[in-house]
């Protein structure tokens, strides 16, 4: 029983189901302005804290704004910024990792010690520090998360490159006169893709968690923008009479993060990327 349940969540099925769920979230997020029934920032205090109705499917919040609309717009920020963090830290990570691994020597030592230095701190502490310096705001959070996440990509990439470097096809390319840059671009990066995808999928889930956590603390998204973590925070004042204000965004964060995690696990199994 447990075995079949487990196997359903691994392998092909899991990848397919999770990909569909994630794709759905992205489509909804992209189309939010067109499919949302109301404006996410229009305040109507006469309509505050209303239950579900035909006009407001999930009711309204403490300022009379439509919950469904705010959840949809919240998806834009959570997913959009998580993707941006993913892409930017991936870019930096691959660049630093490949250069470090390919050149080796003291360049490698310096870059890797830097990575270890960053990894030695708990992520959230670093992010809070950076946000503390630059002040609260979504861009600052984006920058902070990017600055702490690239090291993971860089480490994997560098390790892969070090082992790839000794392979014969690299030697062949070098002998035939390819420049270092060309070798990195044409031969090395395509070969590190798989583990990067696995790690990237797992990191996406964490990026969403981190953005939400920081917004919950009031450091990320500034009002009146909707964001899931910030919505949970707004809901805390109404936890006794209207717990659904916290539950809706909470469930969405849970679904998205778990989906990314399961997908990441399934992919790592499929590509044979052992994790520790």
């Amino acid at each position: 029983m447990i075995h079949t349940w487990r196997s359903a969540f691994r392998g092909q099925y899991a990848i397919l189901i999770c990909s569909i769920i994630i794709a759905l979230f992205f489509i909804v997020a992209l189309l939010a302005p067109w499919i949302a029934p109301h404006s996410p920032i229009k305040v109507d205090l006469l309509q505050k804290l209303k239950g579900p109705s035909m006009d407001h499917w999930l009711g309204t919040d403490h300022l009379g704004r439509d919950n469904l609309t705010r959840l949809l717009y919240g998806a834009r920020i959570s997913l959009g910024f998580a993707t941006m963090i993913f892409l930017s830290s991936l870019l930096i990570g691959i660049l630093v990792g490949s250069v470090s691994g390919y050149i080796g020597g003291w360049v490698d030592s310096i870059l890797m010690r830097l990575c270890e230095g960053i990894m030695a701190f708990p992520n959230l502490v670093l992010v809070l520090g950076i946000v503390g310096i630059f002040g609260p705001g979504l861009m600052q959070v984006l920058l902070a998360l990017m600055l702490v996440q690239w090291v993971y990509y860089a480490r994997i990439c560098r390790n892969m490159v070090v082992s790839l470097k000794e392979r014969h096809f690299i030697a062949a390319a070098r002998i035939s006169g390819s420049s270092s840059w060309k070798i990195i671009r044409r031969h090395i990066i395509p070969n590190v893709q798989r583990p990067i995808i696995v790690i990237g999928t797992l990191e996406m889930g964490w990026a969403i968690m981190d953005i939400s956590a920081l917004s919950f603390l009031g450091l990320g998204v500034q009002p009146p923008n909707a964001e899931w973590g910030a919505m949970i925070h707004e809901g805390t004042s109404y936890i006794r009479s209207h717990p659904e204000l916290m539950i809706y965004p909470g469930i969405l964060i849970l679904i998205v993060v778990i989906t990314f995690n399961i997908l990441g696990e399934a992919l790592s199994e499929r590509y044979g990327v052992t994790r520790r």
């Binding site: 609260p136 797992l202 500034q222 009002p223 006794r240 009479s241 849970l254 520790r276």
Partner: protein
């Protein structure tokens, strides 16, 4: 390869936690009725238990944080006490005489007053306390009297004389505040007499004394057997330290607490729920302070009175205050409510009027560009930054509402939630456009308010800096504070408050009230007249 952080257990934990929380929530509502009548048998029927968000601190009458005002006011007493409507009543001073020029105050001290350790209260002790406070003038300079005290003298055993450098009318009001001018017994002073370094024991003349105390957990106050006045009707007050508002409410519902009292100590949501429950009694005080929005006129865009007036008229205050606070706060028409001395003047309220607001903005030259949503003048957008305390849900909701309503006028507002300390720093550095501000309340107001109108460094004078009659206003404040003539003083207050109303640089939003929620066994609960005092005077407990 060990490149992955060990984080994958966290989602599982999070789920578990969520489930646990849900279960906890359910069980809580389930045993409400069963446990509410069960009370601790050890506590006598004549004691009450209340909660407070923070530890009561070192019970030193001459220092500030972390000491809690309500607790200090239980142990220590002033010379003069502040009663409803700003009336000053004798406390430790039986009577007082003020010289013609308003510079010499002679206090006749009450006879037969003893400290809780049995020692006598006399002019020597009064002088010792005054001198200990005046040794650290800088710490206390926010209180106007501190900068005008010239001499303190013992005339005889029960007469004390205070000489000022210049007349200052709110001397008695300043002496009635909870700190720093209250009196510590001889035995409490450290060997070198400098109380800023701490006190040996909390020895006061007040109705209560500290009997038992455990930091961050509880404090037990027992009746002072030597108290000179009417002894309290209850024997004991236990203060439980509960930092979280929801936990406080849960403890109250379980019957562990008899009273929750204070400002913002309970969420609006919870207060509403308890109010609807017949088992409990809820009360709201008169206004204790005003929530205002500062429009910093030192910003060139806000220097124009038409813009400030347009912003004031451009949002529905009534609907906002009602909608967000559900009646726990009252919409405010003037910066100071009328229950302070000298503030009962008729000011023309500024009504909600979107059309006039738009017309004023047009007139001031801020026009909507074709197809645009933000007004412009000389290529500059009409855009402001508003900072708010991110831990205050009411401020945040109000900020968002105002932002939305002004947005429809064509005024763009950017919101930033900050830590309270950062926010105050920016207020003092004059680094803000729009700021939520609170006045001090009784017994500090109205004189502390007009004091900050004129003196810089508190953000208010800076906010008003571009109004055309600022110099005149400062002069009026100076005159009012040093006036000895009652009618003239009233006239000056009227003039100052009228100017502020017309200039609209401080938009009054709502009057804040204190809340009290208590079990039915408590009778005769009354809010204290002074904002910082304790509410235990006259409180009674009926047998359940």
């Amino acid at each position: 390869m060990s490149y992955q952080r060990q984080r994958s257990a966290i989602p599982v934990l999070a789920t578990l936690l969520a489930v646990l929380l849900l279960l906890a929530g359910c069980s809580n509502t389930g045993n409400n009725t069963a446990s509410s009548s069960a009370s601790d048998p050890a506590a006598s029927a004549k004691s009450i238990t209340m909660s407070w968000p923070r530890d009561i601190g070192t019970m030193n009458p001459h220092t500030y944080n972390p000491s809690q005002l309500f607790a200090q006011s239980m142990i220590y007493e002033p010379l003069v006490s502040y009663e409803k409507g700003g009336k000053l009543e004798p406390a430790l001073a039986e009577s007082w005489k003020i010289s013609k020029d308003g510079k010499v105050y002679t206090f006749k001290l009450r006879q037969n007053v003893k400290f809780s350790d049995g020692s006598d209260f006399n002019a020597e002790v009064v002088k010792k306390n005054f001198d200990a406070v005046m040794k650290h003038k800088d710490t206390h300079s926010w209180l106007g009297i501190v900068s005008v005290i010239d001499k303190t003298e013992v005339v005889d055993d029960h007469t004390f004389r205070l000489t000022l450098t210049e007349p200052y009318y709110p001397v008695l009001q300043d002496l009635s505040v909870v700190r720093p001018f209250r009196f510590l017994g001889e035995a409490g002073f450290p060997d070198n007499g400098d109380t800023s370094e701490g006190v040996k024991a909390a020895v006061g003349t007040g109705p209560w004394m500290l009997a038992d105390y455990k930091q961050d957990e509880y404090a037990v106050f027992k009746r002072n057997p030597n108290y000179w006045g009417t002894a309290p009707a209850i024997d004991q007050v236990t203060v439980k330290i509960i930092p979280d508002a929801e936990t406080r409410v849960a403890a109250f519902e379980k019957g562990e607490l008899d009273l929750i009292y204070g400002e913002g100590v309970i969420s609006l949501d919870a207060f509403q729920q308890l109010r609807e429950n017949d088992k409990y009694v809820t009360q709201l005080s008169d206004p204790v302070g005003t929530r205002s929005l500062l429009l910093n006129s030192s910003n060139p865009k806000l220097a124009d009175v038409r813009v400030r007036m347009a912003l004031h008229e451009g949002f529905n205050k009534q609907a906002m205050v009602q909608g967000i606070t559900s009646g726990l706060e009252e919409p405010a028409d003037s910066v100071l409510s009328k229950n302070y001395p000298y503030t009962n003047v008729d000011l023309k309220p500024i009504p909600y009027n979107v059309e006039q607001s738009k017309a004023l903005l047009d007139e001031a030259g801020w026009k909507l560009p074709a197809g645009g949503t933000v007004r412009e003048k000389d290529g500059q957008p009409l855009e402001f930054d508003m900072i708010f305390d991110k831990t205050d849900p009411i401020q945040k909701a109000m900020a968002e509402t105002i932002q939305a309503e002004w947005g429809e006028l064509g005024v763009k507002v950017n919101l930033t939630g900050l830590e309270l300390t950062v926010q105050i720093k920016r207020l003092k550095a004059n680094d803000f456009d729009l700021y939520f501000w609170y006045n001090y309340g009784a017994p500090y107001d109205p004189h502390s308010f007009i004091n900050v109108v004129a003196s810089s460094g508190f953000g208010i004078s800076e906010t008003l800096s571009a109004i055309p009659t600022k110099k005149q206003l400062d002069e009026q404040v100076r005159q009012a504070l040093s006036s000895t003539d009652e009618t003239k003083r009233q006239e000056l207050y009227r003039s100052i408050l009228t100017t502020l109303q017309e200039q609209s640089a401080i938009i009054p939003i709502s009057y804040i009230k204190k809340t009290a929620v208590y079990q039915q066994k408590i009778a005769h609960f009354e809010f204290p007249a002074s904002r910082d005092d304790n509410p235990f005077e006259g409180i009674q407990v009926t047998k359940p």
